[in-house]
Symmetry: C2
Subunit: 227 residues, 2 copies
Amino acid sequence: MDHSPKEPASDHIANRLALAVHEHRLAPGTKLNEDEVADVYGVSRTVVRAALQRLSHDGLVELRRNRGAFVAQPSVREAREVFEARALLEPRTARSAAERMTGTDLAALQRHIDEEHAALAAGEGGRALYLSGLFHIEIARIADQETIATFIGQLIARSSLIIALYWKRRTAMCESHAHHALLEAMAAHDGAKAEDLMRGHLLDLLTSLDLRNTPPAPRSLREALGT
Amino acid sequence: MDHSPKEPASDHIANRLALAVHEHRLAPGTKLNEDEVADVYGVSRTVVRAALQRLSHDGLVELRRNRGAFVAQPSVREAREVFEARALLEPRTARSAAERMTGTDLAALQRHIDEEHAALAAGEGGRALYLSGLFHIEIARIADQETIATFIGQLIARSSLIIALYWKRRTAMCESHAHHALLEAMAAHDGAKAEDLMRGHLLDLLTSLDLRNTPPAPRSLREALGT
DNA sequence: GCACACGATATTGTATGCAATCTTGTGTCG
DNA sequence: CGACACAAGATTGCATACAATATCGTGTGC
C-alpha cells in the first residue's frame, strides 16, 4: 500500500522478496538466482544483489560464496535462539506498550487483528501469518522503541521461516486469540498482564513447533513469484 | 587476526570501516564519499557501495538518497533506545553465560580484558573501547546465543557512536573494573550476580552520558583512514 | 564397471560507464 | 544589497560487460 514515491528500488525488491517469504510463497531452501530475480522484476542484477544482501543481513537469505543466494533454512538451534531472543525482547516491550497505549494505537492494532481474521477467513493463511507478525512489530512501535522494533522485525521474519519448517499442528486459531487477549490487556493499560500474555504467547508458539527432525528439502523458484 | 582466506571483499571493507568507527577514528557525521573510499582501499565503487549498505543496516552509517553515506549521528532518543535494548538483552544473557561458562571461555575473556588494559595503558583509548565491546559480544557467544550476539554486536557498534557523541567524563576506569567484576561472577558460575552486575554496568554507562545537548558537527574524511 | 581428471557451462564477483539527482557557484532582477 | 533562477559540477543510482569460480557432464585409464 505504501508505495513511497521514490523508493531506492533495491529496497523495493527486498520488500517484495521478504513478503514472499513471509507469506510462505518462497519456501526455505529455494535458490534465488540473480539473473532470474532480475528478470522477474525487470531490473538489473545490481539492485537484486543489493536486495539479497539486505535480506541476508536480516537472516532471511543465506549467501554462499560463488554459489548464490538461498532462502534461509533455520536450523533447530537457530529456531531456539530466535525464540530465546524474542522471549527477552517482546514481553517487556509489550508491557511498555500497554502503559503508553493511546486510542489511535488501539484502533490500529484492532485493524491489524481484523485484517488477520479476514485473511484467515479468505483462506490466505500466508497473509494471515504475515499480518500476525506485523502485530508484534506494531507493539514495539507503540512502546516507542524503534530499535527494538527493528530487531523484532528481523526475528519475526526468521520466525516465519521457522514456522514454515517446523510447524506441528494446523491450528492457526491460537494466534488470533492470543493477539486479542493481548490487545485487551493493553487497552486496559495492564502492563503486567500484557507482559505475561506475551510471554505465554511466545511459549505457545515455541511449543507448537516440532524441533526434533532434520532440515527439509529445497524447491524451484519462478512459480512462487507470481506477483 | 582471522583473515579468512577468501573474504567477500565487500565484507573486508565494511569491517575496516566499522573498526575505524569503533576506534573513534571516524567521527559521527563524517561523509563517506564512494570514490574516495574506493580509492583509499584500492577497490571499485561497487564493493564500497555493498560495504556501506551493510554498515547502514547495522546502524553505523546513514544512507541519504542521492546525497551519500555518512557516519551515523545517533540522536538522543536513539541513544536511549540502544541502551534500552541492551538492558533487555545483556543481563539475562550474562546469566546464561555464567551458568555455561567453561575454562576455555574464562581464559578467552581474561585475555580480552588483558588486551583492553594493555591498549588503555598504551594510550589507545579507541582500541580499548573496541575491545571492551568485544567483551560484551563474547559473553553472548559463551551463552551460546549467536543470534543475540549479533544483535548485541550491532548495539555495541551504535553504542560506540553514542559514546563518541555524548560521553561526559573522561574516566575509562569504570569499564575495565566492571568487566573484571563480571568475569569473577561468571567464573564462579553465579548467574544471578552476573545478571545484576551487567544491569548495573549498563546503567553506569547510560548515566555517564550527557543526553541533553544537541547533536554535534561533522568533519573531513581521509585523515582518519590511515590504515 | 568404477574412479578420477578434465573441460564446457553456468553463476557469482567485480569493474566500468552512463543517466538521474543533488549541490553549489554565478548572474540577473527587484 | 538581498533573493531568486539557472547552469555547471559533483555524486549517487543503475545497467552492462568482463573476470573468477563453482558445478556438472564427459571421457579416459585402471
